[in-house]
C-alpha cells in the first residue's frame, strides 16, 4: 500500500521559474511531513518540514503548503536555480511508530540554465 503518493515523477523548469511538487498522504495518523533533497551519489538531506497545525512554512526560496483536510502538501521552489536540480522526496511519520519515515517515490527536478 502506497501511503505517500508524490507527483510529478519528473519536472523540467527554466531558471527563475517556479517548481511545484505535490504529495498526498493516505494515512490520517501522519503528523509530521518533511521534504528531503537528494543529489546524485548523496544521501537525502532534510530540506524543510511542517506539522499539520501549520498551513504554510517558508525557508528562503522553499515553501511548503499543507492542506490538512485534503491530506495534501506541496513544495514550491521560487526562482529555481540550476543548483536546485536534484531529486525531491516528500515523507511522513506518525507518533507511536518510533518516528519512522514513509517516503514518496520522488520527483527528479531539472532546472535549465
Amino acid at each position: 500500500q502506497q501511503q505517500v503518493k508524490q507527483s510529478p515523477q519528473s519536472l523540467i523548469v527554466q531558471k527563475g521559474g517556479i517548481s511545484i511538487i505535490n504529495c498526498a498522504y493516505e494515512n490520517t495518523a501522519f503528523d509530521y511531513f518533511p521534504w528531503y533533497q537528494q543529489f546524485p551519489g548523496k544521501g537525502p538531506a532534510l530540506l524543510i518540514a511542517i506539522r499539520p497545525d501549520v498551513s504554510e512554512k517558508k525557508e528562503g526560496r522553499f515553501t511548503i503548503s499543507f492542506n490538512k483536510s485534503a491530506k495534501q502538501s506541496s513544495l514550491h521552489i521560487m526562482d529555481s536555480q540550476p543548483g536546485d536540480s536534484a531529486t525531491y522526496f516528500c515523507a511522513a511519520s506518525r507518533s507511536g511508530s518510533a518516528r519512522q519515515l514513509t517516503f514518496g517515490s520522488g520527483t527528479q527536478l531539472t532546472v535549465l540554465p
Binding site: 548523496k42 544521501g43 518516528r99 519515515l101
Partner: protein, 117 residues
C-alpha cells in the same frame, strides 16, 4: 560535526554471494536506521535500532538479511545470499532518538550502491 559514515561506497557481487555494509552514525545519536533505495524509488526502511536494541525489523527479509548494532554505535547490514533484486543503494541514517513523539531529524549517510550480477 562529522556526518554519517558508510562503507564501502560501491560493491559489485554475483548472485548467491554474501556482502556486508558498515555504518558509523553521528556521535551521540541513539537511533540508527537502514534503508533500501531501489533506483527511481524512495528509501524504504529495513530496520531501526534504538541504542543496541531493535525497534522494528518488520520489513527486513530475515531469510537473507541480518543487521546488528553492537555496543549501540556502529552497525553492519549483511545480505546472504544476495539476489538480483537486492541491487539498490543501502542508506544508513541516524537521529538523536528523542522518543516516539519527537521530531528528531534523520541524517543520512551517502549510501552503498550494491550491484548484484
Amino acid at each position: 560535526e562529522a556526518g554519517v559514515a558508510q562503507s564501502p561506497r560501491y560493491k559489485i557481487i554475483e548472485k548467491r554471494q554474501s556482502v556486508a555494509f558498515w555504518c558509523n552514525p553521528i556521535s551521540g545519536h541513539a537511533t540508527l536506521y537502514w534503508y533500501q533505495q531501489i533506483l527511481g524509488q524512495g528509501p524504504k526502511l529495513l530496520i531501526q535500532f534504538q541504542n543496541n536494541g531493535v525497534v522494528d525489523d518488520s520489513q527486513l527479509p530475515k531469510d537473507r538479511f541480518s543487521a546488528e548494532r553492537l555496543k549501540g554505535v556502529d552497525s553492519t547490514l549483511k545480505i546472504q545470499p544476495a539476489k538480483l533484486e537486492d541491487s539498490a543503494v543501502y542508506l544508513c541514517a541516524s537521529s538523536g532518538g528523542g522518543g516516539a513523539s519527537s521530531y528528531n531529524e534523520q541524517f543520512f549517510g551517502p549510501g552503498t550502491r550494491l550491484t548484484v550480477l
